[in-house]
Amino acid sequence: MNDMTIGAAQGAPEPSDIVFTGRDDEFRDLLFKGTPLEIITVGFYRFWLATKIRQHLWSHTILDGDAFAYLGTARELLIGFFFAMAILAPIYLASFLLGVEAEREKSFASMLVGVFFVAFWQFAVYRARRYRLHRTAWRGLRFHMDGSGLSYALNAMGWGLLTVISLGLALPWMQAGLERYKMRHTYYGELRGDFVATGDNFFKHGWRLWVAAALTTTAYFAGPVLTGITKEAGWLLLMLPTLAAAVFIYARFKALQWKWWLEGVRIGDVWASSTLEAHALTGNYWTFVGLLFASGVAALTVGLAIGLMPKIPGIILGVLIYLALIVQYSILWRTYFVQRVWRIVVNSLTVHNLHAAQEVAMRLDASSPTALGESFADSLDVVGF
């Protein structure tokens, strides 16, 4: 009996299953109820809906027989939001005054103030991740995160500049660098995370997508000039094929990025492999585009009909259609960009070396972050799930 135990610990351990058991219709019901409520409550319900969505996703993600738990509450998000608004008020005022002074020096120099907000946004993204991670638990033990949102923001700004200058070529290394920072400050109990995937590797698998994106962009802008048709007509003609190419490239990029990221993540000695294929997300994104297009055509038809109606009922109907479009877009986005991707990605995973995450103790010096970071992100209009 002892031999068996030792053998299991030393030899190649059994990989562990991770599955997503949430049903599509359950998630749909959640959105059908929650999204209209967001409109009725002029947005305040977003804190409750976001919490419900996370509870749904986390609690149906089951690793080795035990589900993840999402411990955050909507109330926390609401309070964090009020604090964020209070803190942002003087920042807005200062940025306005600074903008006036910059403008006096040089016209339109106040746009530089925008750079500050981009950096602040990165800071908020980091802190929001910290909040979500701390509210995530598995087997009665929390994840958490330390590190500094400020150094992350500076890091992200530097990489961002490099990526813009290099026309996106630096993106793989930017992602590797930023993920390394985030994962090395991520913990599950006292197990420390790491990120071992490299930019080189990402680039090796993804460079064709970069070429495809470059060709598509060039064709869209150079096509009309070369063929001699008028610019407007050319751009309209090229719109559909360009859009199709963009969806195709984006879907492939996301699939590659997920697989690269998941296989690079380490929690202690635990690692994961993914069977996600290059085209795994393509159908999903095409469904999104198709449904969006259909609803757009429907709205346009009704919109034309409204033009023939008397003014006041026409306006009321127009507003209603607009609200319906918001609700519908929101549902589509959360379905096809969040839940479906989550399901496809989780079900592609196999976790290895999970025995290294047994009997992990709580990390004692971990403080509890507030929802403030998430709220900064929220008030800067970052769409999160």
């Binding site: 002029v42 305040f44 319900y45 411990l71 009665g140 877009y329 995450a357 103790a361 709580m362 209009d381």
Partner: protein
């Protein structure tokens, strides 16, 4: 007998999954291999959300994430029978009822809209006079740079035209009693428009001079712009805009597509404020022209010529200037000249050609 009630237990300190036995004594004893790991008093046990086939429990005073998962029906019945406060934090996990959230959101909206509608203009009126003129000038300097970029910065000053403009400006300032000295500058742009900047700068575009049929029309428009300067409308506008944007930011947040609602709301409110400001500037212009002994009606006629008929426009509520017909009617009341024109005919012609 002890092996009868089985459960899964996480102690919340180490992530070990323990198969434990439950013993219902004076306390709920959680035991593993004969040793008691933890004893929960029945009054402390609370149920937490879980799929229907499992009962998940925590205890007040235990480690925060310590939890017990019970599956077999007999143990669950026993727990339900013995724990009096089992469902006490269900309200907490439900996170408030939906109806309550809707109610409070409506209350918050009403209060915010009230604050935006009444509070913001009030605050702007009270705060604007407190801002030092030097700050106002800085704001004007910043805007001036942008104006020059947008209109290619071509300033017009044919010698005769400039002299006429200076004369007009002087007479206007004497009659209006402005709280700060103003400078009028002509810019070569086809757009028929004139506007004032905080700190005392007024721009008149060549397009408007071209469209004008008499000097009284231009005189009226400039007097109107002086009205904006006198009332510090720019400052009030900036303060009100900032306040409205901030307060509206509390609504919708990152709800996708909500931005358009916020934009329309903002536009409706700022235009309502600005219609009010325009009417006051009109009144100021009428008073000034009265002191100069010149009629106010021509200014209304020029406005109508520039904007075209507006009465049957599609969404008149979105106009930031009062309707030209209405303004014309108001200004037409003052249609008598009691003094000679400010400029001679030659001077007026020179002014019209200031950009040539």
């Amino acid at each position: 007998m002890t092996g009868k009630f089985e459960a899964i237990y996480f102690d919340g300190l180490v992530n070990k999954k323990r198969r434990v036995t439950l013993a219902f004594g004076p306390t709920l004893d959680i035991g593993e291999d004969g040793a008691v790991l933890s004893a929960w008093s029945y009054a402390d046990v609370r149920r937490i959300p879980a799929p229907s086939d499992v009962m998940r429990l925590r205890a007040i005073g235990a480690a925060q994430l310590a939890q017990l998962e019970v599956r077999d029906p007999e143990s669950r019945r026993e727990i339900e029978r013995r724990c009096p406060k089992l469902t006490d934090d269900e309200a907490l996990h439900a996170d408030g009822s939906t109806l309550k959230i809707v109610g409070w959101s409506l209350a918050a909206t009403i209060s915010l809209v009230g604050l935006i509608w009444f509070g913001v203009p009030f605050a702007a009126d009270r705060l604007a006079p407190l801002v030092p003129v030097a700050w106002e000038k800085r704001l004007g300097d910043a805007a001036e740079g942008q104006v020059r970029e947008i209109f290619d910065g071509k300033s017009c000053a044919s010698p005769k035209g400039a002299a006429a403009l200076a004369k007009l400006s002087q007479r206007l300032q004497d009659a209006s009693g402005l709280r700060l000295p103003a400078t009028i500058e002509a810019i070569s742009s086809k757009t028929p428009n004139a506007f004032a900047l905080p700190g005392g700068k007024v721009f008149i575009l060549a397009g408007l001079l071209e469209k004008a049929q008499s000097q009284d029309e231009i005189l009226g428009v400039l007097a109107h712009e002086f009205g904006h300067l006198q009332n510090r409308d720019h400052l009030r506008h900036v303060i009100a805009d900032g306040g409205i944007a901030y307060l509206f930011g509390l609504l919708f947040g990152d709800v996708t597509g909500g931005g358009a609602i916020v934009l329309v709301g903002k536009t409706l409110l700022t235009t309502a404020n600005s219609r009010d400001a325009e009417a006051q500037a009109d009144a100021f212009a009428a008073k000034t022209l009265d002191r100069l002994g010149r009629p106010a009606k021509p200014m209304g006629e020029l406005l109508l010529r520039v904007t075209g008929k507006e009465k049957d426009g599609f969404l008149t509520i979105l106009n930031d200037h009062p309707l030209s017909e209405d303004r014309l009617a108001k200004l037409a009341a003052a249609d008598k000249a009691t003094a000679d024109p400010v400029l001679t005919d030659d001077e007026w012609k020179a002014l019209q050609k200031i950009c040539d």
